[in-house]
């Protein structure tokens, strides 16, 4: 795995922040479906979220079991689990 622990944690933090922006804007858009500024902000953070997730998964492996890309082994099991803090 490349990258330091602080890079991993700061990237994870950015992913959480972008995800939260999408969640809260999504709640707002549920009641204001035609609000163009909110939609634009949602798409901006969605793009940022996808970019950070792709970067994270490139460096540190899959974030969810839906993005395992290995052909020969199930890397999802090999990586440290989130509660195994000594690995981070």
């Amino acid at each position: 795995m490349s990258g330091t622990n602080s890079d991993r944690n700061s990237l994870m933090q950015k992913i959480s922040e972008c995800e939260f922006m999408m969640i809260d804007l999504g709640l707002y858009l549920d009641t204001h479906p035609d609000c163009m500024p909110a939609l634009a902000a949602y798409h901006k953070h969605q793009a940022s979220f996808e970019k950070h997730v792709a970067e994270f998964e490139r460096l540190y492996g899959p974030l969810t079991m839906y993005s395992v890309n290995s052909d020969n082994c199930w890397t999802w099991l090999e990586l440290p689990w989130p509660w195994e803090m000594e690995a981070y």
Partner: protein
């Protein structure tokens, strides 16, 4: 993972007789705090006389797009030709320095009913601040402040 802070403690009543509106503060089940007019509410913008009316069911605009709040309720399809300005609520300008967050559904809301003001879009917090405080909308950020203060 939901981090929305919605403040349900403010119930807003319109007094149709005096054409004024008051905000009551509820603490749990007990009514407390002072009555204050909507003009003092930090999140309620003072209503502009020349605002474009955007609820065709409740207001009528004349040819200069001025709205009379005292007109009887009718259902003509007038006043709102542009979809950009009409989100189903009257448009007002924000009070100085405060993002407008709430607009009542109608200027003629009947008495004895509780209403929830309709949220308007505003400039969002940046990502790290939003994640820290639990909302992306500054007007929904209502931290507890001891000593009877409110935000």
């Amino acid at each position: 993972m939901l981090f929305t802070n919605v403040d349900f403690s403010h119930i807003i009543f319109y007094n149709n007789m005096q054409k004024e509106s008051y905000m009551a503060y509820y603490n749990g089940n007990y009514r407390s705090g002072q009555r204050q007019t909507m003009a003092n509410c930090p999140n309620q913008a003072p209503r502009q006389r020349n605002s474009v009316c955007c609820n065709p069911r409740d207001r009528r605009a004349d040819e200069n797009n001025h709205c009379s709040q005292n007109e009887a309720r009718t259902f003509p399809d007038t006043g709102c030709s542009s979809k950009d300005t009409c989100f189903g609520q009257p448009r007002t300008t924000p009070a100085q320095g405060v993002a407008q967050s709430c607009v009542m559904p109608s200027p003629t809301c009947p008495v004895a009913m509780a209403y929830v003001a309709f949220q308007a879009f505003e400039e969002l917090f940046d990502e790290s601040k939003a994640f820290r405080v639990g909302t992306v909308f500054p007007s929904l950020f209502k931290p507890f402040m001891a000593g009877g203060k409110c935000r």
